[in-house]
Subunit: 529 residues, 2 copies
């Protein structure tokens, strides 16, 4: 390794840190961040170039990092994540949904033309001979492909999996390039708004049970949006483009959005004024409905009336489902970026309750109705209408991680097998094996002759509540010392009673554990004990 | 869509079916399968070409398939899979392991030079500007990267995730391009064989609890293999190559392996004869040890003696851990393909008990000690010795799917809310909401005015045990009819008692359900009911 290369590597580290700092600083603009990232890329290329020539020994000079916008999860983080995911999954199951899974990549053609402007964010795989593949961008398009391919006419499914977007990461805001989505969708020929309402109910159940603070579910309808555009006299072929500009309203002030409508979408001042009037309307469902229904120009539009009919049903059902008015808003500025929505759309946002004013900190879930997506995959254009909701759990993880920083501990070992003397490995292993076979969570030191004090210290550090301590004397008499780590009291227990004694102390009922859980379906081999 | 294109598409379907049939036929050779697959690729290219020109409307002509070697999982399959994964995870936790997660892709440099010949099977991502990435090939290298990057000196971790290999798929044999691995590894400076023995114990626990039939855990040691090569007079730089040829012995007859040793590895007949003698040795651990210890030439080799010392310790510990001799074999022909192993290696195989002779049907788990891998990532060459085991669950899924074909049902909804009359949507939703809020699994028809018979039929078809039936009269009196789907008996229950009555009938204790599970950590918003 030459000196110059060391300098290059050092500079990469420095620049990596700098980018990390910038990305968490709210005052930094996207442009500044991009500049810093480009500088980092250049620095990395210098390292790669300076390393050329020392091929085989170079592997230890590999820059140790995860790909941009991704991260590892340590045990404490994983425990929180699996807690959250299992709570969400449980609610999916409450509603009778079935789990499916699809590959992480799809044929590129499947994803093409589904995401509008965002298609540029799709990760492609290298052409190594064979099919042209891309990593999935969401779980909705693969689900539609699944429904069409298997000629399914109705299904209520959930899927929990990672999706991939080559977006500019914003770590502090919980935006990554690899992230989990938890999707619930109902596919089938249902002429009612009942599944749409169930999605809102399910979203409310999930958010209210996750302890993430106050939230708001914004609802709108693509047909109402399109009705507004029609009223404004905009040509139908411009609808989706105008829609995706309006979608920026949650992050961008109106003035900038208006500029884009003028410059990029070529709308007239009058058209923009009409849109401005409508997208400012937001409030409880019945109130907004009333405003719209007294607007004769709007009510003259067939498309808009269809949307309103849907929304009136939705209001009724949302009420029947017991969702409080305070958590649902009819927001005419909600547009959602993706092309495929055709009916109701919704989005959940978190509010930080900073005294008087509550500040929206970003979307944590979204969804809507997409009645044409499955048909796009079907050779006979057979339509299967769908509606669904997608929980963006990364932001939820970030929030809960902040909240629980202190209490996140990954350990829950129940018993430790320790020895007070030398040459006890085999006896320690024999007892540990007895505990494992009885489905008790147990650990044992990997050292042949560990010191007793170190073993006890480990239990205190990692909150293991019980320790079995053995020596030659105990082994000879077929007993163990059972020590309570907290109060340090020891009792003698016979080896034969050991399992039941520990279960009793841990409050595990015999029914739960006498029969190891995995024996339910019978065992192929003889049991080990 | 033109006529010729239709013919092309039809031919792709035909050829797809043919490849599927061939891949499940044991008489078909790899070459024949490859030919059929190439024909399929050509056919697909013809479709793509004939479709050029009709760009935007072409999306419905997309060939609906998942990428080669991958598959979707339907709800029944997913239930089995999550059963199996949760049993495995539970045993990982019994041993005090912590879960981590890493990104699905790594910087390509991280994976380079870790897999020997198999590196050609790595999936690369397209260079879209930025970093050069590859999909992970296993969970071991990302784990070593994680340990090095976070400067961890000891950890016992598990990870359950999909890995990717551009291998020739063999569906009938459970070989896919996307598949789950369940890995358990112990990293740290342990001078003993205790963690190695724990891995064998854990593997035995998992396999014995999965109801997959008889299995065998083969064990060997890289230093013993290298000792054999030394005794045979082979140059050290050839060891890994010879090793990966010998690794084929489980699928290939000795004659072919011997040919490869001669032609590809350039060994002399005498060298091959020495290897032949050793790799034929296999049997219970103590027996094989005795054979080796009486071979003076072998015992004169320092490397071999180190391996034997390890194996002697392992025998003792495996015995202490209560693993029956009948399930463990010391097999000198076991080599394992991957470059990074340095000590004990093991592999579990399934045996089909076809009367007298048992036929090995393939490896379902493997692992071993790799003491240098973390050091390859560390700038200061700091070593962290590791040992681990990886469960290849796809084969296990295939076996269990075959066994449970009839009994795989994805449903477990507990109550259905039905109505006997029209215009009851809002009342059905109100009652469903009540059940969901009480954490009961409930469903309700999505039709505004479903027929009672259809609703009851659905419950019978999907094994939902209880139905609530309501009409105007019941609603007025604040009661429901609670119907047992099996014996069709109905009782009247008041709405206020409904939840507790259903819980009682389902045998759910109040403690389990009175407090919805997700309220444990407090609720941010007011509760919905």
């Amino acid at each position: 390794m030459n000196n110059q290369k060391e300098v290059h590597i050092w500079y990469v580290r420095y620049q990596t840190e700098k980018v990390k700092q910038l990305s968490t600083d709210p005052r930094v603009t996207a442009y500044q961040l991009q500049q810093a990232e480009m500088e980092l890329e250049k620095a990395k290329q210098r390292v790669t170039k300076s390393g050329a020539g020392s091929s085989s020994s170079a592997s230890s000079n590999v820059i140790l990092k995860v790909p941009k916008g991704t991260r590892d999860f340590n045990p404490a983080q994983m425990r929180l994540r699996s807690d959250v995911l299992s709570k969400i999954t449980e609610i999916f199951k409450l509603h009778g949904a079935h789990q499916i899974d699809t590959p992480v990549f799809e044929l590129k053609d499947i994803l093409t033309g589904k995401y509008g402007d965002d298609s540029k964010l799709i990760y492609d795989l290298k052409d190594q001979g064979g099919e042209i593949l891309s990593l999935r961008y969401d779980l909705t398009v693969p689900f539609a492909r699944y429904v069409a391919m298997n000629k399914i006419s109705s299904i209520k499914r959930y899927q929990v999996a990672k999706v991939y977007r080559r977006d500019n990461p914003a770590i502090a805001r919980g935006r990554y390039r690899e992230f989990y989505q938890c999707d619930f969708d109902v596919a089938g020929q249902y002429e009612s708004m009942i599944p749409d309402a169930e999605c809102v109910k399910l979203l409310d159940e999930i958010l209210s049970c996750l302890d993430i603070g106050k939230y708001l579910i914004k609802i709108n309808h693509r047909k109402i949006l399109d009705g507004i555009f029609e009223v404004a006299g905009i040509a139908p072929e411009l609808f989706r483009g105008v829609s995706s500009t309006i979608d920026k309203l949650d992050k961008t002030p109106w003035a900038e959005v208006a500029d884009e409508l003028k410059d990029l979408r070529a709308l007239t001042p009058a058209q923009i004024a009409t849109i401005a009037m409508f997208v400012n309307i937001s409030g409880p469902l019945p109130k907004v409905l009333n405003i719209l229904m007294t607007n004769w120009e709007f009510m003259a539009c067939e498309l808009a009336r269809q949307g309103l009919d849907d929304m009136m049903l939705l209001i009724k059902y949302v009420k029947s489902l017991g969702i409080p008015d305070s958590r649902v808003v009819f927001d005419l500025s909600l547009a959602r970026g993706l092309d495929y929505y055709t009916g109701v759309i919704y989005e959940a946002i978190l509010e930080t309750s900073a005294g008087e004013e509550s500040l929206a900190v970003g979307s944590i879930a979204g969804g809507g109705r997409y009645d044409n997506l499955v048909g796009m995959f079907d050779a006979n254009k057979r339509k299967v209408p769908c509606v669904g909701v997608s929980i963006g759990v990364e932001r939820i993880f970030s929030i809960l991680e902040q909240k629980r920083k202190d209490s996140m501990k990954p350990f829950d070992v129940q018993v430790y097998v320790a020895s007070a003397q030398k040459d006890m490995v085999e006896h320690r292993l024999r007892l540990a094996s007895m505990l494992w076979d009885a489905r008790l969570k147990a650990e044992v030191s990997y050292k042949p002759n560990p010191k007793l004090l170190q073993q006890l210290q480990y239990c205190e550090d990692t909150n293991i509540p019980w320790v079995i301590v053995i020596g030659q004397d105990e082994v000879a008499r077929g007993v163990v010392k059972l020590r309570n780590v907290k109060d340090r009291k020891e009792e003698e227990v016979s080896e034969t009673d050991l399992v039941s004694e520990i279960r009793a102390r841990l409050g595990i009922s015999v029914a739960d554990s006498v029969k190891p859980k995995c024996l339910e379906n019978g065992v192929g081999n003889e049991t080990t004990k």
